[in-house]
């Protein structure tokens, strides 16, 4: 039965990929037909307004509790294509798919079946229709990040640096639809997704609703307010969150507070980060503290993280990070993770 389900999942992914490629081709064809014959430089080829790169990374992780080292290798593509009509942009297609192999990954992410496994992983894989005029929202369809917290405005796909979205919400990105827009004084995204994570849908009635409204992400002080409701693997979650980013010169101070329930048990999640970049922004240092409390009896976990990322050019990045449990939930054991990652974008 498992083999049949696995085969069906592969089929669904292939069909999705095919569908999105078809959508892309049709939009391209339409774009070409809209081009004015007096406008000889109008985008009418798929290569126009296209960014495409291959992306490869290798990560080694030392698990201190098990005293073992695991590896994760990812090789995939990153495609960004803006579709334009005669005088306006119509939408943006972002496709990121990675063949990901883990070896001896003793605490494997949920999308893998065991510590030694290979999966095709969708990161961001969606089309955002931006063709509506004025303040009408954009419509996004596909696989995208859940609209919640710090993670929403910061790209962490394929990086060691994360914002505990998975630990707090149970999911980081999902298949579905959203309404979104960046306006002068605020931006927002309201999403409804399937809860299937890497799968298009789920058989167990899972769902995710999320919404975040925030001040413009480029300002030196950014505030966000988010709500979240989901049912994933029969665990119901509700969250209300506030996120803050403040930049002072080369320093950045981030914080996120989440409160809510897991199956009617109170949850409080606190997160803080201090980061520092050099003036050329080739070096990033950061330290994070993450506190998660489930129920009111003091059952809580505290984790500390320090990391460095060195990116000398547009191709290479070398990152390292050490994460250590300072306090763990009752019945759990302390874990320390040392990560080292080399990444190259072609």
């Amino acid at each position: 039965m498992e083999a049949i389900k696995y085969s069906e999942d592969i089929q669904i992914k292939k069909l999705t990929l095919l569908g999105l490629c078809l959508l892309c081709s049709l939009t391209c064809w339409n774009t070409a037909s809209w081009a004015n014959d007096t406008d000889t430089d109008s985008p009418n080829r798929f290569s126009d307004n296209l960014r495409f790169t291959l992306d490869a990374s290798s990560r080694a992780v030392y698990f201190s509790r098990q005293n073992q080292t695991g590896f994760m290798h990812a090789f995939g593509f990153d495609l960004h294509k803006v579709f334009s009509g005669q005088q306006r942009d119509i939408g943006t297609l972002v496709l990121q798919g990675y063949l990901t192999r883990i070896d001896n990954f003793v605490t494997a992410p949920a999308i893998f079946d065991d510590p030694d496994d290979t999966e095709f992983v969708y990161r961001i894989f969606n089309f955002n229709y931006t063709g509506l005029p004025g303040n009408w929202p954009n419509l996004r369809i596909g696989h995208f990040e859940v609209a919640y917290g710090l993670e929403h405005a910061i790209d962490t796909n394929g990086t060691l640096r994360q914002y505990q979205q998975g630990a707090n919400l149970g999911i980081k990105a999902d298949w579905g639809v959203s309404l979104n827009k960046q306006l002068t004084s605020f931006e927002y995204e309201i999403g409804a997704t399937s809860g299937g994570n890497q799968e298009l849908d789920s058989d167990d009635g899972s769902f995710v609703y999320s919404a975040r409204i925030g001040t413009p992400r480029d300002e030196n002080t950014v505030l966000g307010l988010a709500v979240y409701k989901s049912e994933l693997n029969n665990l119901k979650r509700e969250r209300l969150g506030v996120d803050v980013r403040y930049y002072h010169g080369l320093h950045g101070f981030f914080a996120e507070v989440s409160t809510g329930e897991n199956n009617e048990t109170d949850v409080l999640n606190l997160f803080g980060e201090w980061n520092y970049r050099n003036s050329t922004e080739s070096l990033l240092y950061y330290t994070q503290l993450s506190y998660l409390s489930i129920d009111v009896t003091g059952n809580s976990a505290l984790k500390g993280i320090v990391g460095v990322k060195y990116a000398p050019d547009n191709h290479w990045s070398l990152s390292t990070q050490y994460a250590r449990d300072i306090n763990v939930f009752v019945g759990k054991k302390h874990q320390g993770l040392f990560n080292l990652q080399l990444r190259y974008r072609f």
Binding site: N49, S58, H73, R88, D89, Q96, R101, E281, N314, L342
Partner: protein
């Protein structure tokens, strides 16, 4: 040990493969939605369209040659977008975002430009300096509006890096940030001209056609205007001599009315006038008469302007009719256009 060896092999393969690659790209899912920046800089706009081009080592080398000691930071290389802004279906300007190194990290500035590549306004999209509020003012911005690439060059001292305080007035506390903004603006104007030259040329030709031919309905750009018959006609008219127009920069658009009748053409070419590189644009009827002439960079002095404008209404056919350089270059524009319209 076996796993470790496998991973080492995988990493080695990745490194070898990467060394064979030559292209450079930035992360894509973090690219921003520009709609609000465009609306802030061009409030009158009704739509915009992206044109993505590669800013490569060739452009970087040209920037280094023309603007030493300035160069392009690695984040400025790769594929970048010029947004063409439309107002009621007509192109009216551009928006381009560039980043500049500073002591506070990269400062990201969205520049709005006219079709003639004069600065219309700017917006500090990302700036971690505390002096930001001192330059985000009308007093500072007004000094940059309407300025061209050459004006920006003069706003810096001869070192090409520090602020020429005779040209720009700014609070001393914001001097470093003002230098960053001027350098960024200067590079933006140059890079736009280098990397998007065809798009910029196309839009100004379209505007020229619309302004000079009231019955205009359609415009067709001439592909490779200096090929074949045109070269022959120019050689014949000038006996192989040059009038000073850089023929590699010539662009011509044929203009038609609703009945597909040829009304004339817009001719553009680069020419050095009084030591300054200028883009001259002639509007010429189907019969070869000059109906307008325009210098997108400004004429510099009145006598030059007068000399060129006196060719309006003329229809030259040989060098014998020409008494000065303005008439000679007008003849070249007419010979080229006539040859293209006849074919």
């Amino acid at each position: 040990m076996y796993l470790f060896k496998k991973s080492i092999v995988a990493t080695t393969v990745m490194v070898i493969f990467s060394l064979l690659s030559a292209h450079s790209f930035a992360a894509f899912c973090s690219l921003r939605d520009p709609v609000e920046t465009i609306k802030a800089l061009h409030p009158e706009s009704t739509s915009f369209k992206s044109i993505v081009k590669v800013i490569d080592e060739n452009v970087r080398n040209q920037v280094q040659t023309l603007l030493p000691p300035n160069t392009l930071h690695f984040s400025e290389l790769g594929k970048h977008t010029l947004y063409v802004v439309y107002t009621k279906d007509r192109p009216t300007g551009y928006v381009h975002v560039r980043s500049e190194e500073s002591e506070w990290g990269l400062v990201e500035i969205a520049w709005s430009m006219t079709l003639d590549l004069e600065v219309k306004d700017f917006k500090l999209q990302r700036c971690r300096s505390r002096a930001r509020k001192l330059v985000d003012t009308e007093d500072f911005k007004v000094q940059l509006r309407g300025r061209t690439y050459h004006d920006f060059v003069q706003m810096l001292n001869r070192d090409g890096y520090t602020l020429n305080t005779d040209k720009v007035d700014v609070d001393p506390k914001a001097k470093s940030l003002a230098e960053v903004i001027i350098r960024c603006g200067m590079k933006t104007l140059l890079v736009t001209e280098l990397a998007w030259s065809q798009d910029v040329q196309k839009n100004t030709l379209y505007r020229g056609a619309e302004l000079n031919f009231k019955a205009m309905d359609a415009v067709t750009l001439v592909d490779q205007p200096m090929d074949g018959a045109v070269s022959k006609a120019l050689n014949s008219a000038f006996s192989g001599a040059s009038t000073g127009i850089d023929r590699s920069t010539v662009a011509v658009a044929k203009v038609y009315d609703k009945q597909q009748q040829l009304l004339g053409a817009i001719y553009q070419g680069r020419l050095d006038i009084d030591g300054r590189p200028s883009i001259i644009e002639w509007a010429i009827t189907a019969k070869g008469e000059i109906i307008n002439i325009n210098n997108s960079k400004g004429w510099g002095n009145h006598s030059t302007q007068k000399a060129f404008e006196k060719t309006i209404g003329q229809n030259y056919s040989s060098t014998n009719q020409c008494n000065d350089r303005a008439e000679l270059v007008a003849l070249e524009a007419i010979v080229t256009t006539r040859s293209l319209l006849e074919n």
